[in-house]
């Protein structure tokens, strides 16, 4: 049963890699910036899943820490890129936004 479980984990990891490669096609050929950003976000989620399954394949539970770190970093990277392309700068306070001041 343990051998069958190993094969199941291997097949799941392989199909997650196939899904990541398919998402790379959208990342390269996306028409707009937001398509690429969506592809990057989804690619990061799949990377977290692949790391968790890979820890079970190699039977070492240390890599889940890396997966946890990657999940948080992926979210922060997405928000930072969105903020940069929205305001063309990163040092903009969230409470004093330039577009709100321009409207007032």
């Amino acid at each position: 049963m343990s051998v069958a479980l190993g094969y199941i984990f291997l097949s799941v990891a392989f199909l997650i890699i196939v899904s990541m490669v398919m998402m790379l096609a959208r990342l390269i050929g996306g028409p707009t910036l937001y398509d690429r950003l969506l592809a990057v976000n989804s690619f990061g989620t799949k990377t977290v899943l692949f790391l968790c399954v890979f820890c079970f394949i190699i039977d070492r539970p240390d890599g889940v820490d890396i997966a946890l770190l990657y999940a948080l970093m992926n979210f922060i990277a997405t928000i930072a890129v969105l903020k940069f392309f929205n305001y063309k700068a990163l040092n903009v306070g969230l409470l004093a936004r330039p577009d709100v001041e321009a409207e007032e």
């Binding site: 989804s42 399954v53 946890l68």
Partner: protein, 139 residues
């Protein structure tokens, strides 16, 4: 599926070999194996469906719908399968933390991308259903 059918066919024979007073712990292992397999492949189905939707759908917002919805559910199902397999240990807590952070951050990131694209003026491909424009909201 063949592996599952073989295990299901072999399980009563193994129980007879162990005797009627044998340890019932084998059934716990079998149940955990079946739950793990079902949860992993259900999550994999959702992940692959979301990826196919991102590749095939015609519009940015429909792609966002496919990726955002199915990736959250697929990731949670795959992590649930791994949690069932890992038993009660420190690994379970870490996997639950990963699941919690994915459950919080993935819809937030999807909402942020959708809102930013809408503010930037990315137009959906219009059919019968039309999105309200920003000018109508302000006036």
């Amino acid at each position: 599926m063949n592996i599952l059918l073989m295990i299901l066919a072999a399980a009563p024979a193994a129980a007879e070999l162990a005797g009627p007073s044998g340890p019932p712990i084998e059934w716990v292992f079998l149940l955990r194996f079946l739950l793990t397999t079902a949860s992993l492949f259900a999550g994999l189905f959702f992940v692959l469906a979301g990826t196919l939707g991102v590749l095939r759908l015609p519009d940015f917002y429909t792609r966002l719908h496919a990726a955002g919805m199915t990736d959250t559910l697929g990731a949670e199902l795959i992590l649930l399968g791994l949690i069932i397999q890992s038993g009660f240990s420190q690994l379970t807590l870490k996997l639950m933390l990963v699941g919690f952070f994915l459950l919080v951050t993935s819809p937030t990131a999807t909402h942020a991308v959708a809102h930013s694209a809408y503010k930037a003026g990315v137009k959906p491909v219009l059919g019968r259903f039309r999105a309200p424009s920003l000018d109508e909201e302000e006036s």
